[in-house]
């Protein structure tokens, strides 16, 4: 549960940073992994609608497909690695 909530928080940051394609990828992962945890669903749906309207259709669809191929634990490890690298700089 904790990692799903954290993932959603990170998605909002990624979107705010203007990394919209990455936000779409992670959002797909979020919807795949959230299971019974639906506390962010309304916000996630709004975010998906916004990203879909802001990105060209082809770009959105490509990002969506990349998101479907992501592996949850792998993404968490990548986020932690990014964190470690950032703190060492």
């Amino acid at each position: 549960m904790g990692n799903i909530c954290t993932l959603f928080g990170i998605i909002t940051v990624v979107e705010a940073q203007g990394r919209k394609e990455r936000a779409v990828e992670l959002l797909v992962l979020y919807f795949q992994q959230r299971g019974a945890i639906k506390m962010h669903d309304d916000e996630a749906e709004r975010l998906r609608t916004r990203l879909q309207s802001e990105l060209p259709l082809e770009v959105f669809e490509e990002s969506f497909e990349r998101g479907k191929a992501l592996e949850f634990q792998q993404v968490l490890v990548e986020l932690l690695t990014e964190s470690k690298n950032a703190s060492e700089q």
Partner: protein
């Protein structure tokens, strides 16, 4: 509060029953507390059920006060505050939380104090849009949760602080908080680190 884990909710309810039996708590408190746990954090609830659970919390509070059990008085005030919050009765939730916090502070119970700060009063401020006050509450909660040394609660506090930072559009700070949370969960999740080891091998 609606997390949808009925198995975990039921397991916690059984654990709380065992704990309360050890403490020789009155049967009524045991039943009320068990009901609250079973129907609360790990179950998906309706607004009507929040109303019912708030009534159970009030009943538990009355019993705890009658038996002079201050720990349970604080605990039931916590739940009563949470259900008021979930019904969006924020003023009532804050007032109830402050009463419970005062008792928890007198008892010197770090976990209870932190729960009032982080999980109730901070969340009330956050949901009311008072982000600076929410941050102050969450930071107080984090300080007490660190005293307890429970990783999960520390991680949850960083999540709350991340949400506040995001609401204040301080995205670097939000990212920092979310990653601290992720790191703590990662360190307490063997599966994640097994994956990490495979990736780096």
């Amino acid at each position: 509060m609606s997390l949808g884990f009925p198995e975990k909710g039921n397991r916690l309810a059984e654990e709380s029953r065992a704990i309360l039996q050890d403490r020789n708590a009155p049967q009524e408190i045991l039943l009320a507390f068990t009901s609250l746990l079973r129907a609360s954090t790990y179950l998906t609830l309706t607004q009507d059920q929040y109303v019912e659970l708030r009534q159970v919390a009030q009943a538990g509070l009355k019993i705890a006060r009658g038996s002079g059990d201050q720990w349970h008085v604080a605990m039931f005030l916590y739940w009563a505050g949470q259900y008021a919050r979930l019904q969006k009765q924020y003023k009532q939730a804050a007032q109830t939380g402050e009463k419970g916090l005062a008792i928890a502070e007198r008892l010197g119970e770090s976990w209870l104090i932190a729960s009032f700060f982080s999980l109730l009063l901070g969340t009330v401020e956050y949901e009311c849009g008072s982000y600076l006050e929410a941050r102050r509450r969450f930071e107080q909660g984090l300080r007490y949760f660190k005293e307890t040394g429970q990783p999960w609660t520390i991680a949850v506090s960083y999540g709350h602080l991340g949400n506040v930072a995001a609401a204040l559009r301080d995205f670097p700070e939000a990212e920092c908080c979310y990653r601290k949370r992720l790191k703590i969960f990662g360190e307490s999740d063997g599966q994640l680190w097994e994956t990490s080891a495979r990736c780096s091998a």
